[in-house]
């Protein structure tokens, strides 16, 4: 098989020495991790490699020799390097030599035990050690597969480099017996800010955990779980959003370190999402409280509510007349119309009763925008729901009336034809009715049938209004979900450090020369933005209506009530 040598580009200018790395026999590839320079004692080198192997679980060994001669080819050195092959027995012993500043290197192998001495082809693949060490391949393999041989070549190489971090910790300023060249041999780099933040994060997490336990203790107390209050909390979307964010805070402040890449990215995404949310919320707050915007909002709220009520009254007057040229049943029309008009009158009275307190309530409620833009949007959605509560009531009345009528009509229609619904067998059976039953049934059926257009029209109008409100609320919830679930940290990482999220690799063919091995450059192929968002999306608490359009239309036709927003965890009715 063709022999592949993965050589780190940082070692291209290293002094002569021996190569250490991992040999993968199934793929006939050698991953070189570092170059050990002269002078060294072979016994110490072997012991060091054993220690590293114990810590990292990677099978590191001495793979070959590296000869970087600045002047003419030194014969004695190359013989010495060949003799080294006897000391560190490795099959095959790889010899790479570079002359001066030439780009084209000589690469050969010494096979002692093979039967046929055929010249096998060698491919030299350069790779950027730091980038390969820091990057993560997607889709990530399960840890269960890592025990057996790596099915994929690339993941084997990435794992080898990533697991050998401890090898890269010694640099050339250390006074050990072994001098190596790798990507960090010029000095280990670290950032003071990162170290300080790591130190500060431990007490901060403990404080946050304590505060959160207090808050969740208060929330779970018995006082708030009485029936009217618990029903109210479950209906308000603000409480759902606050509970969701509390969960996020608990994830961040947990003292357990993230086990793998996915958990770490999840924590980082939640942290950045919370930060951006709070920042946008504070921005909104500063805009609201400047120039008395709250006062203006409160001043326009009552006239808007009045205007909506007036429009509804006009609509009802129109329905009570001859809407769209249809002829309504006068008596039923008047009854329904007056009932709804009285309702609106009550509603307006309540709003006017509350009007002196509106500004103060809004002022305090607006303060909660500092908890995040999502909370502010949820409050807006709840305010819309409260203000249009009368539309919801009208929809429910209209729907129940219409539903009753439809059921009555269908049952009496069956009676008209001489059939009956068998509850036990869940099917329609024939039945013989008495004459008076048939008479009353037919009479009722006729009455219901002729009253149907009036009820249907009221139902249609109020259903459309309710759907309008539902659509507006739905858009707000969509925006909240977007802010909740967007993995901003991953997107920014993909933008700034694209080598950290790898979809694969790409090879570039470098200049070739006849007789020399094939030279390739291995670069990291970053994940596309769509894949990044899909892989690292944060889960949200709301599930969108699973009803298909057909079942929705059927429910509308029959007059069954529609509940568009079902939250995960709610019992399905």
């Amino acid at each position: 098989m063709v022999l592949k040598v993965f050589f780190p580009s940082c070692c291209s200018s290293a002094e002569s020495g021996i190569l250490i790395g991992r040999w993968i026999p199934e793929q006939s590839s050698a991953v070189i991790l570092a170059v050990v320079h002269f002078p060294f004692i072979p016994v110490q080198v072997k012991q060091y490699l054993r220690e590293v192997q114990q810590v990292t679980n990677v099978n590191i060994s001495v793979l070959g020799s590296w000869n970087n001669s600045k002047q003419e080819k030194e014969e004695s050195l190359s013989e010495f390097l060949e003799d080294l092959g006897m000391i560190f027995s490795h099959e095959p012993w790889i010899q790479i030599s570079k002359e001066g500043d030439s780009k084209f290197w000589n690469c050969s192998t010494l096979q002692k035990q093979s039967d046929n001495h055929r010249e096998e082809e060698i491919i030299l693949v350069y790779y950027d050690q730091r980038k390969v060490m820091l990057s993560h391949l997607h889709p990530p393999l399960d840890t269960a597969d890592l025990g057996a041989e790596d099915a994929s070549k690339l993941s084997a190489i990435f794992n080898t480099v990533a697991s050998s971090k401890v090898l890269f910790m010694t640099d050339r300023y250390d006074d050990g017996p072994i001098k190596m060249t790798h990507w960090q041999s010029d000095g280990v780099e670290a950032s003071i800010i990162v170290e300080l933040m790591k130190q500060a994060s431990v007490p901060a997490c403990m404080l946050l955990t304590f505060l959160l336990s207090l808050v969740s203790g208060v929330c779970n107390s018995r006082v708030l779980k009485f029936w009217p209050l618990s029903f109210l909390w479950s209906k308000l979307s603000t409480c759902e959003q606050l509970g969701h964010r509390l969960q996020h805070l608990q994830v961040i402040s947990s003292s357990k370190k993230a086990q793998n890449q996915t958990q770490l990215m999840r924590k980082a995404n939640i942290f950045v999402s919370l930060l951006i949310d709070v920042a946008l919320g504070i921005l909104l707050m500063s805009w609201l409280y400047r120039k008395n915007q709250i006062g203006h909002l409160a001043d326009t709220l009552i006239p808007v509510a009045d205007h909506v009520a007036e429009e509804l009254q006009d609509l009802l007057q129109w329905l009570m007349g001859a809407p769209a040229g249809l002829k309504m049943n006068r008596a039923l029309d008047q009854v329904l119309g007056r009932f709804f008009l009285y309702h609106i009158h009550l509603w307006i009275s309540y709003i006017h009763l509350m009007s002196p307190f509106i500004e103060m309530i809004l002022w305090y409620v607006g303060l909660s925008a500092c908890l995040g833009l999502t909370v502010a949007l949820c409050i807006l959605s709840d305010i819309i729901a409260l203000l249009t509560f009368h539309i919801y009531c009208f929809y429910v009345y209209g729907a129940r009336l219409y539903c009753l009528k439809i059921y009555g009509l269908s049952s009496l229609w069956r009676l008209f034809r001489g059939k009956k619904w068998n509850v036990l067998r869940q099917r329609v059976d024939s039945c013989s009715y008495d004459l008076d039953q048939l008479f009353i049934g037919t009479l009722l059926f006729t009455i219901l049938l002729f009253l149907l257009p009036t009820t249907a029209l009221y139902y249609l109008v109020f259903t459309l209004l309710r759907l309008l409100v539902v659509v507006v609320q739905g858009l707000i919830h969509l925006l909240v979900d977007l802010i909740d679930s967007l993995p901003l940290y991953s997107v920014i990482l993909r933008f700034c450090r694209s080598y950290r999220l790898a979809a694969g690799v790409k090879f570039r063919v470098l200049e070739q020369k006849d007789g020399k091995p094939l030279r390739l450059l291995m670069q990291i192929n970053p994940l596309s933005y769509g894949n990044v968002v899909q892989t690292y999306r944060l889960p949200t608490y709301s599930c969108y209506p699973k009803d298909s359009w057909a079942s929705l239309c059927k429910k509308l036709f029959l007059g069954e009530l529609i509940y568009p927003w079902k939250h995960k965890g709610e019992k399905q009715e």
Binding site: M1, V2, K4, S28, E121, I123, V125, A151, S152, K153, L154, G504, V505, K506, F507, V509, Q512, P517, L518, L520, N525
Partner: protein
């Protein structure tokens, strides 16, 4: 390195360039025709004439600036996301197969498939609109299940060369792919 002229399925002229880097590494590149100046100017003048017509109707100069803006944005989007200049295939025996598409704006989108996942490279027929065309595709398999085909990856989708060009590419690919079969035979027990 040779360059030969062929035609695409719709009649446009293509050029196939074949480079042999080493005994087990070959690069095959199909170059599509470049963006023509006359089609670009035709589209631009059509859009601007329509905008001028609208301007004469409604006397709002925003229409003109909007038309210029739209033309620029549309051209950038076309060059960066739609117009493919060259599609190339790099076959490295024992490493894998790499497909690269270079767009007119210089962007390159690359996919690399490891050799253990490649089962075979074949020429298939497909019904595309009203024509029956030939296309080259790579059959992928799961490393655990070498007999089944898990995915089909079509190649040269935007240039769509005709059968003669595809046969050249097929022969080149198979010269390298067959090497791995001969390499495995002396080592394998089967």
């Amino acid at each position: 390195m040779e360059e030969r002229r062929y035609r695409s399925a719709s009649g446009a002229p293509l050029a196939l360039r074949c480079r042999q880097h080493s005994a087990s590494c070959r690069e095959l590149a199909v170059r599509c025709p470049r963006l023509q100046l006359r089609s670009l100017s035709a589209v631009t003048s059509a859009v601007w004439l329509a905008a001028y017509g609208l301007f004469v109707l409604c006397q709002n100069s925003m229409v003109l600036s909007a038309a210029i803006f739209l033309t620029l944005i549309g051209l950038i989007i076309y060059l960066h996301f739609v117009k493919i200049d060259q599609e190339s295939l790099l076959v490295i025996g024992s490493l894998g197969i790499q497909m690269t598409s270079s767009y007119a704006s210089g962007k390159e989108s690359t996919t690399f498939i490891e050799m253990s996942r490649v089962k075979d490279v074949v020429i298939n027929e497909a019904i595309h609109m009203q024509k029956v065309i030939y296309y080259l595709c790579i059959l992928l398999c799961d490393p655990q299940d070498p007999q089944g085909v898990s995915e089909v990856v079509p190649l040269f989708q935007s240039s769509k060369p005709r059968l003669d060009c595809l046969i050249e590419v097929y022969k080149s690919c198979h010269e390298i792919l067959d090497q791995r079969k001969t390499a495995s035979q002396p080592d394998g027990v089967k």
